[in-house]
Point group: C2
Chain length 110, copies 2
DNA sequence: CTAATTGATCGTAATTTTACGATCAATAAA
DNA sequence: TTTATTGATCGTAAAATTACGATCAATTAG
């Protein structure tokens, strides 16, 4: 009895997945870690820290920028990247809420 | 002056990215939400909750199972899925730690 | 035994991601 | 001005994801 599926994903699920997806590659985790370590924003020394070419790193930076987790401002010849506080905390809350929703049902299942 | 890049990604970054990647699709978020809502583990009624075909949902379930976030036990004709507590908490901690590493450097940058 | 149900897996097509070199634009240094 | 540096973007190839129907194996119901 095939009922037509109309239900779509909720905006919240889509947003959450977007944040998670942005974190879903070691290079992007590494980039964020660099940005977190040096509180001040740094530019493409990030490239030197990663085992990837400049163009590839630039691509990963763009993805992080597209979801808003980081921002980059031009400073002369160089570009300064850093965490975007608002979005960062938004992602933290959204994903954190999902994880916290778990309450061990010690009993029963599995 | 091209220095050869030797540095690889750390195991921790890779693991973290793996967890995040597993959460990086609305369908998988939706699946986890269903599993979280009904504390007890349910089987492929999940399919009915999602706007996707049975085979596609099964594929997403497999991905979640592969990273360990969920587990599925056969119960007669049906299969019972539920959150894997250990792994769930591991992912929560790992990703949570990353997010918490941010300390607003109100000043300066960007 | 024969149906029907459940859910994994296979094969496949379309799309997205990942990665790189090459190039381009802009700034800084000579 | 000419040259070097910085970093985005383009083009492209290879690989991975996403999605689906079809099929298969196992269990349950008749």
């Amino acid at each position: 009895m095939e009922l037509t599926k109309t239900a779509q994903f909720t905006d919240e699920d889509i947003l959450m997945a977007r944040y998670a997806k942005a974190l879903g590659h070691p290079a992007r985790i590494a980039i964020l870690r660099v940005l977190l370590e040096r509180k001040a924003c740094i530019c493409g020394d990030i490239v030197d820290e990663l085992p990837l070419s400049q163009s590839t790193v630039s691509q990963h930076l763009k993805e992080l920028k597209d979801v808003g987790l980081i921002q980059g401002d031009i400073d002369g010849k160089k570009v300064c990247y850093c965490i975007n506080e608002q979005v960062w905390k938004q992602a933290q809350e959204t994903l954190g809420a999902l994880f916290q929703r778990y309450t061990s049902c010690d009993s029963s299942c599995c």
